[in-house]
Amino acid sequence: MPVIEVTELRKSYDGRPVVDGVSFAVEEGEIFGILGPNGAGKTTTVECVEGLRVPDAGHVRVTGLDPVADHARVARVLGAQLQESELQAKLTVREALELYASFYPSPLDWAPLAERLGLTAKLTTRFAKLSGGQKQRLFIALALIGNPRVVVLDELTTGLDPRARRDTWQLIEDVRAGGVTVLLVTHFMEEAQRLCDRIAVIDKGRVAALDTPAGLIRRSAGATVISFTPSAPLDDRDLNALPALASIEHKDGRITLSGTDETVNAVITLLARHRITAHQLRVVDATLDDAFLDLTKEATA
């Protein structure tokens, strides 16, 4: 049974659909990413999973339970880090950890958790005096303190410096290694590519694609990027006729094509036929970034 199951979820605000038929299932022990442009409906979707919002239609199950009707039971197994929230300004880090630990039947020991998130030196600091990164790390700690089966992390590493970001990624991998299922909302490609087993790309309230990071790259139109500077001008008609071509770009005499392996072979044949040398020829795999732009562009068209 999937740990999180979202089926045909719909939610509108003032008649404007924000989530428009989203379905996905997250399996036990998986790191599942939700990727999408701003305003795509990512946060609303996870808020329905957290039981903060009541869906207009469709249903959501967390460990088989309804997050709205069975809120208390779901809250015991689900830890959440919200995109925008605060704590009482004068509450210290230690008090926050102790308070939130008291809400759960078998919480984690807060001291090692604080240590792991680099908060030990800040235990007596009040929330309002913490930096953005420290607040973020505290919220990650609070999401984990209940010893949850599932954690939902919305914009996990926003506000963290590159080092803290990498440490946090390591932490999430460790958490998953401990058997916890992770639902991760992000718009940060490197994070999704590094952490996620599978990704649902959400655009305009719908799932535009759902696959592994490698699968998303492979199936996007321009999975392979070829760039070179030709020794003599090439005919645009020849280039446009290349098989499986996704895009073409000229810049300062350099040509950048994206397509598939088939396109690569055809370019090499074309160059050989015209006896043109390709200077600084580079053939690289597209990144998740490229795949994402391609997928969300497709949905717009």
């Binding site: 039981g51 903060l52 689900l78 929230s85 704590l87 004068k90 008090e95 308070l99 759960y104 209940g146």
Partner: protein
């Protein structure tokens, strides 16, 4: 009700010097200042033989409730909603309503402590007699606290931001102080004015407290007015309160 939440809110309240001063100390301080004016310690015919200081003890008792319920609590509650603290708590097994109840207990408790302090200082410093009808006094006191909390809850239910809560709070604050008799004790008000004021939450509370202080059971009319306001305001607050 989570005791951990209540303990935390009490601890946080103790870190607010402003709230501590205005709720706990200011009413008694006002009493001390008024009591230091010699003529306020003379008996007056138009106050039914009471001294000014005598009639100001119930006023000071109500003042702590008005400051706590109308000025401080709506600020805190609205801030908790505005800054997503309620939302964060909504994702835990403890419901955000726990935080609201804890807040009410803290401010209600502080207002009662302030009332006790005023009574004690009045008794020890200025020889003001303790209420002669203590049970009636306690009943009126509890109803007054509830009405202050209910009115404060309506203020935070209607306010989207802490700024608005501050503005609405102040708009209700001054009329409430007037009705409680801060400027003119209800005993000294002209008959018609006293009657009208008697229909307001704090006017009714002031008159009920005065009666109990004098040794009578507070009039059911005043207690009824208080009870009606509590029901009405609690209903309005729970109807209009938004969790986010």
């Amino acid at each position: 009700m989570s005791t951990a939440v209540l303990k935390t809110e009490i601890r946080l309240f103790r870190r607010e010097p402003g709230a501590l001063f205005w709720i706990l100390l200011f009413p008694t301080l006002l009493l001390v200042i008024l009591g230091s004016i010699p003529s306020f310690r003379d008996h007056h015919g138009d106050l039914g033989g009471l001294r000014t200081i005598d009639v100001y003890v119930p006023v000071a008792v109500l003042l702590g409730m008005i400051v706590g319920g109308l000025q401080s609590m709506p600020q805190t509650l609205t801030g908790y909603r505005e800054r997503g603290i309620l939302r964060r708590m909504a994702t835990t097994p403890v419901r955000p309503s726990t935080l609201l109840s804890a807040q009410m207990l803290v401010y209600g408790g502080a207002a009662l402590a302030s009332a006790l302090l005023s009574l004690a200082v009045g008794r020890l410093g200025f020889d003001v007699r303790l209420p002669k009808q203590p049970f009636g006094y306690v009943l009126a006191l509890l109803l007054a606290v509830l009405v202050a909390l209910a009115l404060g809850s309506v203020v935070s239910a209607l306010s989207r931001t802490t700024k608005i809560a501050g503005a609405i709070g102040s708009a209700v604050f001054f009329p409430s102080m007037f009705c409680a008799g801060v400027w003119l004790p209800t005993q000294a008000m002209p008959h018609l004015m006293a009657r009208i004021v008697g229909y307001t939450p704090f006017g009714a509370a002031a008159q009920a407290l005065n009666q109990a202080a004098a040794g009578h059971w507070p009039g059911w009319g005043h207690l009824g007015v208080l009870a009606m306001w509590i029901l009405l305001l609690t209903g309005a607050a729970s109807r209009w309160f938004r969790w986010e």
